[in-house]
Point group: C2
Chain length 561, copies 2
């Protein structure tokens, strides 16, 4: 495969000789800049540095670090990132054309871009006559000079220079000649790539394709890029159509984060380009695309946003099968219901446990447990009924696979109880002006003839309850000392009410993820009382650990019926 | 505007005379059938009936109610829906071609379709040779008869008959002649619309367009429909391209729910077709499109799924502005950063409060409160710093607007305290085999010289705390009796740790929505201790109620600085 030297300039990248077999599409990530305009996203300097380092490892060509003139955190990023030894990506600084009230040479914002000493600079300028009049409040002619002069001032100070043609498609629809004049001014100013931006996200893919074709005819000497937003739910398709029409650089963000409905999602664009055009395009260094699912998760964790389960390619549901018909077919040949091999993007197939998935998913799990189960065994029906009844109450087993395994073997007749709960209690109080809460739990359990009664404090009641429970059990079951709680999730289920109660008494679902030295597992609890829901999930977690380590485990044998 | 009679057949709908000015695109909703294949979606019969009734009011043409042969709930739906007096939509039953091992005339699954007495029937059949061999395990010739015969058996029993050409695009790419033969067989069998399905979601929009053009050339007599999935993040664009290429019916789901990455999202397709083609297409009865945001929310509530904030057109973030530059422009002219008028789909503009939004959002809120605030007032900077510090701890004010209003006036010097907290405590315990929890709270507060000490039980600790708090305050502030808690949301914030603690001690954010007879408001609390986070949000909620009703409220006057 033809591979570009990562630090070559875009002009080199266009060298026809390199593209004899495969066209390199430059990937310009703006998660740290445009992505942080999204609702609920706020990144610290440390977060920004971690994300940039991870994106460099993924192999994107450009990482837009922020707008140095706009705030101190962005400015610090450009100072600090130099100490992080990036090996592949260029760091790009974002800004705008100079103020309409001064000259480009004396513009403090352009100077801040130069002072941030990035590998690349990208400035945006107006190309929609409406914005020139309404937002800039200047003449169309003066805006052309602002574009040309601002780029010319930056040109000597930076290796790669890009121009973001803001609102280009709206501008072209309103006044095509003026929009093209803006591009010509940017080209004259020295921008290597003219990035056509659908800033409001309102342009459909077919329009993007047509307009880019017209731009290429009008300005054949320009190298074009594309920047789309998802307001019409077509940002990814718009970017792909732009590449098909000749764009050579794609701007986007991880997970499509960004203002309003978000930017074009690089996690979808990259595999769409690499996997769906018979090898015509390459975006990342060879063998790197299987990092996408991990990068997606990493960025959502750092941004502290829940991953979007249905996210194409990288979401946890992207290759999850639930319908019975689909499951039996996909077990025979994955291609029947999967458009790509999940591992190409670092994802994996999942068979979902639900009443809709029917017998095949139960049999699939039995196989996974190496447990011989006949498809006509009555227990299969019992288990399906039990799952249905529990789903109606708010349980979900798709992610709580350890709770499901216990349910499975109990339905088949496994009855061992490692301990009996007698009592537990929690309390929490805040006294006086000091606002530190005091959380405490007590647990009384019986193991055989032995009664253990323990108490513990903790950071919050569930933490106290976990400590007290394991204090009570560890004398009899020392292996529990290896176990730890990894994650704790709470979800209020507004659609399910225990009975007629007010807002605070909705049913809650708790998921607890635990781990020991060899394995991770998730358990579930559901109740209107959060403490009791947490207790259920804690108990399942401990019982699962005891069950899987149990040397005397006797699983019920099924006989043909 | 030309309007079709809702109960006309599709053949009537194609009557050229009706389309002199505007082409009617039939909207076929499959939320209840294909939508429920999505992870985490389980609908009861009552849920299904509520959704169908709401979709009828919205004005979709077809509502696919389920697969009567597959389960009892779906079967009951077809029986019950007749008593719900739908006024517009046709109810469609879903099924498959007959079994390869029998005849269409004697097929119980086809009989179940007839017995369910729907207005319309849609059956799917194989059109991909791979599936004929691997899934059906029959010959290509026999599959053609199965398609033709199954449709012919159904034809006399139903007003409208559709054929879902499963995996059509993969089939066409693998063996175009055979895929076309399947369509011809369906047309001969009597299907009025041949719906081309991209079942695996792997086909990009440009391919969909090309293939549909070839199908139209090969079988000009057929009326075509489109059914796409979002595995390539292009389902909406694929459906739009299909319509541009001549498809006259679109299948999809509300919010794009469905297996894996979901189906094509009708909440995006409908406005894309109606608003972005110069009036060339109509989908819903005139004036109905502004129900979309409400329908989206209604369906996510019934499905008990969190709404996707970034969802195009109807999401809460779809017209939310955060960047300072955008906010000042959009305050002058919404068109500068909004692709459509939000109210066209029943949505609204929002200005987000965050440190990135800068001074303009603070000034926007001051205007909203009718509070004269100079843009150079030092309090603006103080408030921005305070928001930043609190965002770093996990607070978010975009949705907690009542907590923000209190923060705003406190930053400006408002200091009134309606009461002082002395102590509060909660406890919860479960004793013996009975698993009912006993939750109790106590509260001690001071109002002036008066000390109130109350206790209450509740359904869970937060409910108990809310009751005890209002019991303590209502004697002094009787208006609190009008107030009620509407919703309670908990979110664990994995990225923010109070300090080095294990999984159960992550920071949690609580949002509480409250209401009285005239207003609804949301407040926020953040702490590693869930009870304390809940307490903060409860207190803000009560103080906001007292603040807004306070007849003696004295807001600090700002003087020019």
């Amino acid at each position: 495969m033809t591979r570009l030297n990562s630090k070559k300039t875009v002009s080199d990248a266009n060298d026809a000789a390199l593209f004899s077999r495969m066209k390199k599409i430059q990937i310009y990530d703006t998660t740290l800049r445009d992505g942080t305009q999204g609702e609920g996203i706020t990144l610290s300097l440390a977060d920004m540095l971690r994300i940039a380092t991870r994106l460099d490892k993924l192999g994107v060509d450009f990482i837009e670090g922020g707008w140095p003139a706009s705030n101190e955190t962005d400015k610090a990023f450009f100072r600090e990132i130099r100490n992080h030894g990036l090996s592949h990506a260029r760091i790009s600084a974002f800004g705008s054309t100079c103020s309409p009230h001064g000259t480009a040479e004396s513009d403090p914002q352009l100077q801040a871009l130069i002072d941030s000493k990035p590998d690349a600079i990208c400035i945006f300028g107006k190309t929609w006559d409406l914005h020139v009049h309404e937002a800039l409040r200047t003449t169309e002619e003066h805006n052309l000079s602002m574009i040309r002069d601002s780029l010319a001032v930056l040109r000597p100070h930076v290796e790669v220079l890009h121009f973001d043609a803001e609102h280009f498609f709206d501008g072209f629809k309103s006044n095509p000649e003026y929009a093209l004049d803006c591009l010509r001014a940017a080209h004259e100013g020295g921008a290597e790539v003219l990035v056509l931006c659908d800033t409001n996200g309102g342009t459909l893919p077919s329009e993007i394709r047509n307009i880019i074709q017209r731009v290429r005819t009008a300005i054949p000497e320009a190298t074009l890029g594309i920047h789309t937003h998802n307001d019409s739910d077509t940002a990814v398709a718009g970017a792909i159509e732009a590449v098909l029409a000749g764009a050579q650089l794609v701007q986007g963000t991880i997970n499509g984060y960004g203002e309003r409905c978000g930017n074009a999602n690089l996690c979808s664009i990259i595999p769409n380009l690499e996997l769906k055009h018979n090898g015509a395009y390459t975006c990342l260094p060879e063998g790197h695309m299987n990092q996408l699912a991990e990068v997606s998760r990493f960025v959502s964790d750092i941004c502290n946003l829940h991953p979007f389960d249905r996210q194409p390619y990288v979401g946890t549901s992207a290759f999850a099968h639930k319908g019975g018909v689909h499951i039996s077919a996909v077990r025979r040949n994955p291609r029947t219901y999967e458009h790509i091999e999940p591992r190409a993007v670092g994802n994996a197939q999942r068979i979902l446990l639900s009443r809709l998935s029917g017998r095949s998913s139960i049999l699939h799990m039995a196989e996974k447990y190496n447990y011989p189960l006949d498809k006509n065994d009555k227990a299969v029906k019992t288990l399906l009924d039990e799952i249905k009844a529990r789903e109606d109450k708010g349980y979900e087993y798709a992610s709580a696979e350890a709770s499901f395994e216990l349910l499975f073997f109990r339905a088949l007749g496994w009855t061992k109880e490692y301990f009996e709960r007698i009592t537990f209690s929690v309390s929490d109080s805040v006294r006086g002006r000091d606002s530190s809460p005091y959380a405490e739990a007590t647990v009384m359990i019986r193991v055989g003839d032995r009664i253990e009664h323990t108490a513990a404090t903790g950071k919050g009641q569930v933490n106290a309850l976990d400590v007290a429970l394991r204090k009570a059990l560890t004398p009899c079951y020392p292996s529990l000392a290896e176990m730890r709680l990894e994650d704790y999730k709470v979800r209020v289920l507004p659609g399910i009410k225990d009975d007629d109660t007010d807002g605070t008494a909705s049913v809650v679902r708790v998921l607890i993820e635990s781990a020991d030295n060899t394995e991770r597992w998730t358990t579930v609890g559901v109740h209107y009382d959060l403490v009791l829901a947490s207790w259920q999930a804690l108990i399942d977690s401990v019982v699962y650990k005891l069950f899987k380590d149990d040397p005397d485990k006797v699983l019920p044998l099924r006989t043909a019926e």
